[in-house]
């Protein structure tokens, strides 16, 4: 393919992205500073064999894992190795042989923690895991491009609906450090899956009339009018699509709980299912719909220097969801009888 040479190279990332990179570089640099401080202290009593830094995105934690062996000195090892670099949310020392966590070898201090080396075997391999909270909640946004598919072409005849997801690093080089690479784990991704049409098209007119009658009954009525409405409700409930209106409504409401709705979701490829909640229909008059027009599906993925982008498919099992509503409204039996 030929390219007009009059066009020069362009760092085609745009001003916004370049400004974003400075923030990312600074934040990663401050995180790496922790691991450098840890190393300085570790070298007082240990030899470092390997190290890794992982950002646990959904928990807001930076995790350092170092493989270390206690040093054997002429005058013996120091009894304690101090780490006064800040209070970690979690710290664990594990002997690789037997994968045995050594609870008694770690002591918390007001400035951080210290490792008691008296019970450690010189020459043996240990793993030190240390986790700290990080405060920059916008880091992932500056580091990763997450494009959310807001809508997909749809047809009620389709049995499933697919949403394609992708997460890609904006800046790969910042994850590459001198002696180790930074990994991103459990990076969250949310997709709003539309469900409104699956309910509405299945709710029969007679069920709506039952609801309207119940709404009228719930308002203050005179005795004669109330009696008429109860009689009307009774007639409607004897009709073809009859049933206990409030029970049906309750069952439908339960469909939107995470435990129930999970059944209709499948996540494939590089993403994993995490949770689901009622969707946020910001265009609506209410930001908290009791009857959601969409469900927000949250999944997660991992990225690293060696895996800079991830792709996934969210499958919404539309036909199964519709079939569940039909069962609740007793429509399946009616359809069978008609056939």
């Amino acid at each position: 393919m030929t390219i007009d040479p009059s066009f020069g190279y362009d760092i085609a990332t745009g001003v916004g992205a370049v400004a974003g990179k400075e923030i990312v570089v600074q934040t990663i640099r401050s995180m790496v500073k922790y691991i450098e401080n840890l190393e300085k202290n570790i070298e007082n009593g240990f030899k470092i064999d390997g190290k890794q830094m992982t950002i646990l995105c959904s928990e807001g934690l930076q995790k350092y894992s170092l493989s270390i062996t206690p040093k054997k000195g002429i005058f013996g090892s120091p009894k304690y190795v101090e780490f006064p670099n800040g209070i970690p949310s979690r710290v664990e020392l594990t002997q690789v042989r037997g994968l045995c966590p050594l609870q008694n070898s770690i002591e918390r201090t007001p400035e951080g923690f210290k490792v008691d080396t008296t019970e450690l075997d010189p020459g043996e391999l240990y793993i030190l895991d240390v986790e700290y909270h990080y405060e920059d909640h916008r880091l992932m946004d500056s580091l990763v491009e997450r494009v959310i598919p807001r809508d997909v072409p749809r047809n009620l005849d389709d049995s499933i609906r697919e949403y394609e997801m992708s997460a890609q690093l904006k800046h790969l080089d910042v994850l590459k450090q001198k002696y180790f690479n930074v990994n991103l784990r459990d990076l969250e991704f949310s997709v709003d899956v539309s469900v409104y049409q699956d309910i509405n098209t299945k709710v029969p007119g007679i069920f709506r009339q039952q609801l309207e009658t119940l709404v009228e009954l719930s308002k203050k009525k005179g005795r004669a009018e109330g009696f008429k409405l109860w009689r009307r409700l009774y007639q409607l409930q004897q009709a073809e699509y009859g049933g206990d209106t409030l029970d049906i409504l309750d069952s439908m409401h339960n469909l939107f709980t995470p435990r129930k709705f999970r059944r209709y979701i499948d996540i494939q490829k590089d993403f994993r299912y995490l949770n689901c909640t009622r969707g946020s229909d910001y265009y609506d008059d209410l930001p908290f719909p009791t009857w959601p027009k969409s469900m927000k599906i949250i999944s997660k993925t991992d990225l690293s220097y060696d895996k800079p982008a991830a792709e996934g498919i969210l499958i919404y099992k539309q036909a199964d969801f519709v079939s569940e509503i039909e069962k609740m409204l007793n429509l399946e039996n009616n359809n069978d009888q008609k056939q």
Partner: protein
């Protein structure tokens, strides 16, 4: 041997949205990439690459900050054709020789709202206690494959105004009042988000006017920013959800679950159309009055579409409040591939 480990291009894209693309190849191989993209793409952003962009819709890239990965995000445009297939062509070269050519098709879609009939005169007749039906409805069809969110908005020179209904209207007003009061308090705890919180507080004002073109961009930016923060800051997310729930349950006396379900059904009456203000009402009298207004249209990515003018005269057998959903017949064409 194939040079490329993975090439991702989504198979569908809502017109006017972002289209992400990424390519991964072995780090030890020196690959140059040419990407020929359609005219209807607006602009693009590149990650990890130093590229040449020619005026022939071709991006050429052979320099990378780190070898083995190129990420792109195209910004697409709305097209006059509501559904079309476009091709993106990737050519890979190694040591000056073409090693692979891959073509990817993307189906671009959007809603396509057509108002096929506006009756010049509408009559509302009583057909039960406090229930009215109309002689003829405004016919609206979505011929596209994307979901459209419609709102019927009045013009300044209309004789008939749109009103919030009783009951649910009271609930909405009280809900927003409690919600925004709590949000203001949240600003003290999360000073870094104070600008965003102010935008959310102003949201109700925007929504009550209906979503016009000028408001759509602000709403879209606000939603994007809020969603990013909600997913990345769990503590803020929990506090935010908590104040919504508190405001909701505090005002529950104004609305029953049954009513909310009925409103839900009325706003989602068609497969690919959502009506934003279904239970807002026109207060109609026996004398004929003129309604002048328009239908505002946005899609699920908050892209706006040209508004459609609506004008009719309406009268009723007796004074009544007619919900807007009763004036509109919303339909969607069956999607065919």
């Amino acid at each position: 041997m194939k040079a490329i480990k993975s090439l991702f291009v989504p198979s569908t894209c809502l017109q006017g949205s972002k289209l992400p693309v990424h390519i991964i190849w072995p780090k030890e191989r020196k690959i140059s990439v040419s990407i020929k993209y359609p005219d209807s793409f607006d602009n693009f952003e590149i990650f990890n690459g130093l590229c040449i962009n020619s005026d022939k819709n071709i991006i050429f890239c052979d320099k990378y900050e780190e070898n083995g990965y190129l990420g792109l995000v195209f910004k697409t445009k709305q097209n006059s054709n509501p559904k079309l297939n476009l091709e993106i062509e990737f050519t890979f070269e190694e040591a000056g020789k073409e090693t692979e050519k891959i073509k990817k098709n993307v189906h671009f879609f959007r809603p396509d709202i057509k108002v096929t009939r506006i009756p010049s005169i509408i009559k509302a007749e009583k057909n039960g206690k406090e229930k009215f039906s109309v002689s003829e409805k405004i016919q609206v069809i979505n011929c596209g494959e994307g979901t459209a969110i419609l709102s019927l908005i009045e013009n300044d020179d209309t004789e008939l105004k749109i009103h919030e209904p009783n009951g649910i209207g009271e609930f909405v007003i009280n809900f927003w009042s409690d919600f925004t009061t709590s949000l203001s308090r949240l600003k003290e705890k999360y000073t870094e988000y104070s600008e965003l919180i102010d935008k959310i507080i102003k949201l109700k004002e925007t929504l009550s006017k209906g979503i016009g073109e000028s408001e759509v961009k602000n709403l879209k930016d606000m939603v994007n920013e809020l969603e990013k923060i909600l997913i990345s800051d769990t503590t803020f997310s929990e506090d935010y959800e908590s104040i919504i729930q508190t405001a909701y349950f505090k005002n529950l006396k104004f609305i029953t679950e049954l009513e909310s379900f009925l409103i839900y059904l009325k706003s989602t009456d068609s497969e690919r159309i959502l009506l934003k203000n279904p239970i807002h009402v026109l207060k109609i009298q026996p004398e004929k009055k003129k309604f002048k207004g328009h239908i505002n249209i946005i899609d699920l990515n908050y892209n706006s579409y040209p508004k459609i003018p609506i004008e009719f005269e309406i009268s009723a057998t007796e004074e009544c409040e007619l919900p807007l959903h009763k004036l509109l017949d919303l339909q969607s064409d069956k999607v065919t591939e």
